[in-house]
């Protein structure tokens, strides 16, 4: 696996749909599968991938210093505390806006590809310069969206831009799915979304309060083997990326079984 490195852009167009959460959790999940993984935070204006991974206080250098050759790449890479296979590289620091160019991102990605099996790029929201920088370095992409009209519209636009950039393959992760609301047709159904976006579905992530808890703690859900629905979904996305044939969950059957009920009960008791 070491011979072929995969550079995957995680993008959505709209903000707040879960790009950074997916990047962090997917990074951990891939690392736990034994793959050398690096997450590159391309959102340097408003970076928060380091917060989600609990690595904020360990950042000394960024990709900008590496490019300026004022430090080596190894110095800028922040190793994760518990998961040694995972490293974080912030693209820049918030004070130096408009510093990076698409070519710089390509240079950095090329350096990372030599050392890692997976390079995950956390794309900023929007389709302006930050997006263009991030997309320049990417070979494939995961588009994440929620079952909302505005998020789907923005995702559609982003997919069009990815196509003009020749990024392929592009896969879809549908985040924050609420089975009950889908069943009562108060929310766009999975089919409605895949109908419009016409992309292969890489994962379905259920709405899960544990995500908020883990975000605030700086410990991604996939890290401690949590069995919460979102943690399992992120783990499955990682396995599917690796080529495992993991069946997608059926939102209409989710949360009905006895095991799910017991799990909910236990979570309520504990927290």
């Amino acid at each position: 696996m070491a011979s072929t490195s995969r550079t995957i852009l995680i993008c959505s167009g709209k903000g707040g749909v879960g790009k950074t959460t997916l990047t962090a959790n997917l990074g951990i999940a891939l690392a736990r599968l034994g793959l050398r993984t690096v997450v590159l935070d391309a959102d340097f204006g408003l970076r928060n991938l380091d917060l989600l991974l609990g690595l904020e206080n360990r950042i000394v250098f960024t990709a900008q210093e590496v490019l300026a050759e004022s430090c080596r790449l190894e110095q800028a890479l922040v190793k994760h505390k518990q998961e040694p296979n995972l490293a974080l590289l912030p693209a820049g620091n918030p004070r130096m806006l408009e510093w990076l160019k698409p070519e710089d991102m390509q240079t950095i990605a090329a350096m990372l590809e030599k050392q890692f099996d997976y390079v995950l790029i956390d794309c900023p929201a929007g389709i302006e310069d930050g997006f263009k920088n991030a997309v320049a370095a990417a070979k494939e992409a995961i588009v994440i969206t929620t079952p909302e009209v505005s998020a789907v519209r923005d995702a559609d636009r982003v997919i069009g831009l990815l196509n003009t950039h020749g990024v392929t393959p592009v896969q879809l992760v549908l985040n924050r799915v609420r089975p009950k609301m889908m069943a009562s047709q108060e929310m766009l159904a999975v089919d409605d979304v895949t109908d419009i976006l016409a992309l292969p579905l890489l994962g379905l992530v259920l709405e899960d309060e544990q995500v908020i808890v883990s975000t605030n703690r700086g410990e991604p859900l996939t890290l401690n083997g949590s069995s919460s629905p979102a943690a399992r979904a992120y783990g499955n996305v990682a396995r599917r990326l690796q080529g495992d044939d993991v069946p997608l969950i059926d939102p209409s059957k989710e949360g009905r079984g006895l095991r799910a009920k017991v799990r909910r009960l236990m979570q309520k008791k504990i927290f």
């Binding site: 389709i127 263009k132 559609d156 950039h165």
Partner: protein
């Protein structure tokens, strides 16, 4: 190419070949020969980032010009233009995007009555996504879906072998006999010539191609199959 036919309506500004001169040098001379107003910008292989493009737009605005649409062969320029909100057409390097096809389905009476010049057909393969836009001076055939937020316009008919969920404009130059046909006709908005209608809100019936045309001054949507036409009609909400 279909795009070239626009020249009859709008003036064109063609940037010089990259190897000959920089557009910044030739632009003042070129603008002398045009009258202020809207123009189509043909940038060929010029690779323009947002900054270049916006400085070009500013230059043009200073002289009283407005870019109606941009035609380019460079994906990068197309992306910049999209980011700046300019209507853009990404041309393929070889002119195969459009070919004039003889109208061989003689069963369709409306295409027989039209003059030859508008039977030029532009073919687009693939889905049009939000923010994407196609315009043509002839008829338009899309093999794929037109998603919400996408925009298609043609001087002749608009035919969509897929689902129409964006905005379609047939008879852009005022041809009131133009039609919009789609396998599933659920557009956000329909325009034929100068008529505008919102799409129907009800769920589409599966397996029925539908067509929109102007009937007695209003846009109506009917099953495209003429035998079914007599039996049912679906009104468009005006």
């Amino acid at each position: 190419m279909a795009a070239d036919q626009n020249s009859g309506l709008l003036q064109r500004l063609v940037l010089p070949p990259i190897k000959q001169a920089h557009w910044k040098d030739t632009l003042p001379d070129q603008l002398q020969r045009l009258r202020p107003g809207s123009l189509n910008l043909i940038s060929h292989h010029w690779e323009m980032r947002c900054r270049d493009l916006s400085s070009l737009i500013e230059l043009l605005q200073g002289e009283g010009f407005r870019i109606a649409s941009l035609h380019t062969q460079e994906p990068l320029t197309a992306i910049s233009a999209q980011a700046l909100g300019l209507p853009v057409q990404l041309l393929e390097s070889d002119p195969m995007a459009s070919d004039a096809t003889p109208s061989d389905d003689s069963g369709d009476q409306s295409s027989d009555t039209k003059p030859d010049c508008t039977t030029q057909l532009r073919l687009h393969r693939g889905t049009l996504r939000a923010g994407e836009q196609i315009e043509t001076a002839g008829d338009l055939l899309v093999l794929g879906d037109v998603n919400p937020g996408a925009n298609v316009a043609a001087a002749g008919d608009v035919m969509i072998w897929g689902r129409l969920r964006g905005i379609a404009h047939a008879g852009r130059d005022g041809d009131r006999s133009a039609k919009v046909v789609a396998l599933q006709l659920r557009p956000l908005q329909l325009r034929i010539a100068d008529q505008v209608a919102r799409g129907p809100d009800d769920r589409p019936q599966p397996g029925l191609a539908e067509e929109a045309r102007i009937d007695a001054g209003d846009i109506v949507i009917e099953p495209a199959n003429p035998r079914l036409r007599a039996r049912m009609s679906i009104p468009a909400t005006d």
